[in-house]
Subunit: 254 residues, 2 copies
């Protein structure tokens, strides 16, 4: 068994974005990312600032902690990062354990690395990063990942999600949608104000940006089979992922 | 051919709620409802106030109008009400025409009447009304509808959505979820301030109510396999459905 580097376990709360937006879920946040996006909202998972808080845990320890915190109030677990596939060759142990207990599993990754256990994830979001992130997409790897998901009949469990901050990001989103037309496609408004943790201030700003994105997408005939969403958790609790869920007081494991 | 009583055709805009929240779509709003919910946000469809604006249209006339307004910027049409199944025995003509043009079709109904063409709807939302509506659910009919959808293998195209204003509505939601555990289940925060059309005033209020609903659902072990959503269109454009989409200036047909 290989251990999983865990930074936070908390919930239940809602999934704030993407293909299962609103889903009641627990979060397991893992450490480590192979990217360093300009606007990363969970940079503490990879920039070293929280490295003393990382706890290496076996799957069954994670499961025990989930039950301790979430009781019988959940049946869905989101494995979050960072980018879990960057480090974790063996997340299948945790996924199977959760499945045995009739729980569903969601995971998001930028699609920089394939892992076999992607085929076991119930809600898999591929979120390649647009130009504003300052990262470069490896199209060869992304092609391979999506081919493997299609060949293995996983489309109903997969989505693409592009975060959009500006016009260039929108062009990137178009390109991704055209390249993979069969994959359910989500556009998400970017949050450019990570320091603003006053939800009431942030919400108005984010809703204006959301309206901008809606306008752009509605008038674009290359973006028809799409869904456009805000981050609803940021509207309610503010922008910074860590501590964003102030009503659950994220119990850091230690 | 039987004609369809149409009140509004507009879009493209986003679907603001439910199973395909965020989906780029056109709206065809039909007249007529067999209910009169206390908090109906589209009462003009059935209270007589807009009866002079109803235009009876054939399916191909509706299709022509949709293309005229939406151009090549859509591939999804939401048939809205009122309650379309209350009057329309033959919506299949319109649905098939849209399918022939590779468009998907969504429809919401409270589930007070079965129609054969439910089996052709791509995104069918059943939204039985909770106690705060002052309406009474006919469980026999709702059971029949859901049985028929399950028998015909339509679960992937179906969802239940309960609007929640208060504790009693929440108990009602629990009951519905327990009665039909196999059907994807959505909880939606109710908008109790339909007169407030200043989006900035309304959004803060709705987000508070949304947070209340999230808290309630997170601590309720009977509501695990669920999704909790706001009405995102109301956050952006305000509460009253008619004219709520102020950026498209709904072109009333006439
Ligand atoms: S891929 Fe995700 S976790 Fe990694 S740097 Fe980018 S936004 Fe942050
Ligand atoms: S069923 Fe819908 S349209 Fe009919 S009165 Fe109730 S809320 Fe209004």
């Amino acid at each position: 068994m290989s251990k999983i580097p865990v930074l936070e376990i908390f919930g239940p709360t809602i999934q704030g974005e993407g293909m299962v937006v609103g889903r009641k879920t627990m979060f397991v946040r893992t450490a480590g990312c192979d990217y360093s996006c300009a606007w990363c909202d969970s940079a503490f998972t990879w920039d070293g600032s929280a490295k003393d808080e990382i706890v290496k845990m076996e799957s069954d320890e994670i499961f025990t902690k989930l039950k301790e915190i979430g009781g019988n109030q959940f049946d869905h677990v989101t494995v979050s990062g960072g980018n879990p596939p960057a480090l974790l060759k063996h997340l299948d142990g945790l996924i199977h354990l959760l499945h045995e207990h009739n729980m569903e599993v969601a995971l998001e990754t930028q699609g920089s690395r394939w892992q076999e256990w992607f085929l076991d994830v119930d809600d898999l979001t591929l979120s390649p990063k647009p130009p504003s992130s300052k990262m470069k997409t490896n199209w060869t790897i992304l092609d391979e990942i999506i081919d493997l998901l299609i060949i293995n009949n996983r489309l109903a469990h997969t989505s693409l999600k592009i975060v959009v901050f500006d016009e260039k990001d929108l062009q990137y989103a178009e390109k991704v949608h055209q390249r993979y037309p069969a994959v359910p496609f989500f556009l998400q408004v970017g949050n450019d104000d990570l320091q603003e943790n006053q939800p009431s201030h942030l919400a108005g700003h984010l809703l204006e940006k959301y309206e901008w994105l809606i306008d752009k997408v509605m008038s674009n005939s290359q973006l028809n089979h799409v869904r456009v969403l805000p981050q609803v958790h940021a509207l309610v609790w503010g922008g910074n992922k860590r501590g964003g869920f102030d009503y659950v007081n994220p119990p850091l494991i230690s």
